[in-house]
């Protein structure tokens, strides 16, 4: 499959992103010359082996990491920190344990100074959107891991971001829950026409949900290839059983296998080096 054409009218542009970290072993380039664009309403996944700089890229685009080279712009505006147009969903559980589901989801509305009755009403809309009706007054401690991630998703959606940025939000969940939550995200994305950038290491998840998949190389993280996923929409987890789905998974895995092997060899070398040093 050829490299994907650069989309027009991009809402999100990452241009020549380079991130270097100082380590005791010397400087490491985590992300190297990464450039891509995301169209309005598009679902783009970034996939790569562990250690390829996916989460670093997530932090750069979300504005949580500032010591990088290159430009991130949203709707033509260059951003240099967290931006109201980008809503972030994190890999770790991030629902506030001291707030009920409603108060968690209403959090961004509270920051806007919206009156309580209005923000509760608005929060209930997003709670319903993620399928948590009936749990409005529960605390995150009373919910399962998947439900807690849905609370975080609803909270981010309540801020009505132009771009939804997610970093392996279902990584800690079992496969079945992950597929079902994938369905939920797809439904929401299609309903809201939400531009979404998903960072993941899960090929099935990426193919199930994406319009395009950006495959990254192992360290330093570069763009290896962008794969267009021409599966019909609306999609659901049923797409997993289709022949085309299998072909896309195989294709992405072909690209990833080499990188994953490099990553594994590198980790083995590092482990040996550390063992030698310890001796």
């Amino acid at each position: 499959m050829p490299f994907s054409a650069v989309p027009n009218n991009a809402i999100l542009v990452a241009d020549d992103i380079v991130v270097r970290f100082e380590t005791p072993e010397g400087p490491i380039t985590a992300v190297d010359n990464v450039s891509f664009q995301v169209r309005p309403g598009e679902f783009l996944s970034v996939i790569g082996p562990s250690g390829c700089g996916k989460s670093t890229l997530f932090n750069v685009i979300g504005g949580l990491l500032s010591n990088h080279q290159g430009i991130v712009s949203v709707a033509g505006e260059t951003i240099s920190g967290p931006h109201k147009s980008i809503g972030m969903v994190f890999q770790e559980e991030s629902a506030f344990p001291w707030r009920t589901v409603t108060d968690n989801v209403a959090f961004p509305l509270e920051l806007l100074g919206m009156p309580r009755d209005k923000r509760v009403e608005r929060a209930r809309h997003f709670i319903s959107l993620v399928g948590l009706d009936g749990f409005e007054n529960r605390y995150p401690g009373e919910l399962s891991g998947g439900m807690r991630q849905r609370v975080s998703l609803a909270r981010t959606l309540a801020s009505e971001p132009k771009i939804l940025l997610m970093d392996e939000p279902f990584a800690a969940l079992d496969e079945q829950t992950r597929l079902l939550l994938g369905d939920k995200v797809l439904q929401i994305q299609q309903k809201l026409k939400q531009t979404t950038l998903l960072i993941t290491h899960n090929i099935t998840e990426a193919v199930q949900m994406s319009d395009r998949i950006l495959v990254m190389t192992y360290r330093p993280g570069k763009v290896k290839r962008i794969v267009d996923i021409d599966l019909l929409r609306p999609r659901s987890s049923e797409v997993v059983g289709s022949e085309a789905f299998g072909r896309y998974v195989a294709e992405v895995w072909n690209d990833l296998r080499e990188e994953a092997n490099r990553g594994m060899r590198d980790e083995e070398k590092n482990a040996l080096r550390q063992k030698e040093r310890a001796l």
Binding site: P82, K84, I86, S94, F96, E142, R150, D174, Q176, T177
Partner: protein, 270 residues
């Protein structure tokens, strides 16, 4: 049928622990009583629990125990309020200033283990022989655990929660009040609990030493009169002050942290 039986079973289970606790305590008292009566324990060192029990009436009639109880409880309350306000504030300031924290944290920790009660003459010089000396002794001894636990609580806030705040562009003040402080609250409460224990010990100890005020002074008087059963009965009232404060603190925790007191729900799945 099952639905009708279940609430009864739960209700029985919820009463079981306090009943076992009370039963164990009564059994312990009976054993002590028995050991004293058969002469295995010296009744001139440990008075029989029955005699201690009989002394309560005397404390009410002759020793003005109610007034003394409220005097000591009032001192504890004042020290508790002061330590909560000052301890949390100092802890927050130290946590926010890396230099201040590195400069003072060890000193505060060392202060926590210092036998502050021995410095009571200095406090008497500063405040005089009055309730302020006692309150300040309680306050200062309770300060280190509240400061240290506040620092620990705020520093231990999960990074992802801080990042959520950053992603919503919170100001430093919003970040503190909406994320750091609520996240640190459980640890801060541990500090307040520890602080109240230190405060009560030091307050009663100082009352005893300077022979002024509430229950500590009464314990001193009764001990000097060699009224052992009365002394132990007065100590029971000190325990009562402690119980009162811990119940109040638990109520405050339930109000401020209701999420930690709800039943746990499903832990797996979607």
């Amino acid at each position: 049928m099952t639905m009708a039986v279940q609430p009864v079973a739960i209700s029985r289970r919820s009463y079981a622990a306090p009943l076992v606790g009370l039963g164990s305590f009564i059994a312990f008292l009976l054993v002590v009583e028995g050991l004293i009566r058969v002469g295995l324990l010296n009744r001139f060192i440990i008075p029989p629990p029955s005699e201690i029990f009989m002394s309560f009436g005397r404390l009410f009639l002759e020793e003005d125990i109610v007034h003394r109880f409220f005097f000591t409880a009032g001192e504890c309350l004042l020290a508790g309020v002061m330590v909560t306000i000052c301890g949390i504030s100092i802890g927050v300031v130290m946590q926010r200033s890396n230099l201040l924290r590195r400069a003072c944290e060890t000193w505060v920790a060392a202060f926590a283990s210092a036998p502050l009660v021995l410095t009571y003459p200095l406090f008497m010089v500063i405040f005089g022989r009055n309730a302020w000396t006692i309150v300040m002794m309680g306050f200062l001894s309770a300060l280190p655990p509240v400061i240290l636990k506040t620092i620990e609580g705020i520093s231990g806030t999960r990074k992802v929660l801080v990042n959520v705040g950053r992603s919503f562009n919170l100001t430093a003040t919003q970040q503190f009040w909406k994320i750091l402080f609520p996240a640190a609250l459980p640890t801060i409460f541990v500090g307040i609990r520890l602080g109240l224990i230190f405060a009560l010990i030091n307050i009663v100890g100082t009352e005893f030493l300077i022979n002024f005020g509430g229950l500590g002074q009464l314990i001193n008087d009764l001990a000097e009169r060699y009224d052992l059963s009365g002394t132990y009965a007065a100590i029971c009232f000190v325990i009562l002050v402690s119980v009162l404060f811990f119940i109040t603190l638990e109520r405050a925790e339930r109000w401020l942290r209701p999420y930690d007191y709800v039943g746990s729900g499903p832990k797996n799945g979607g």
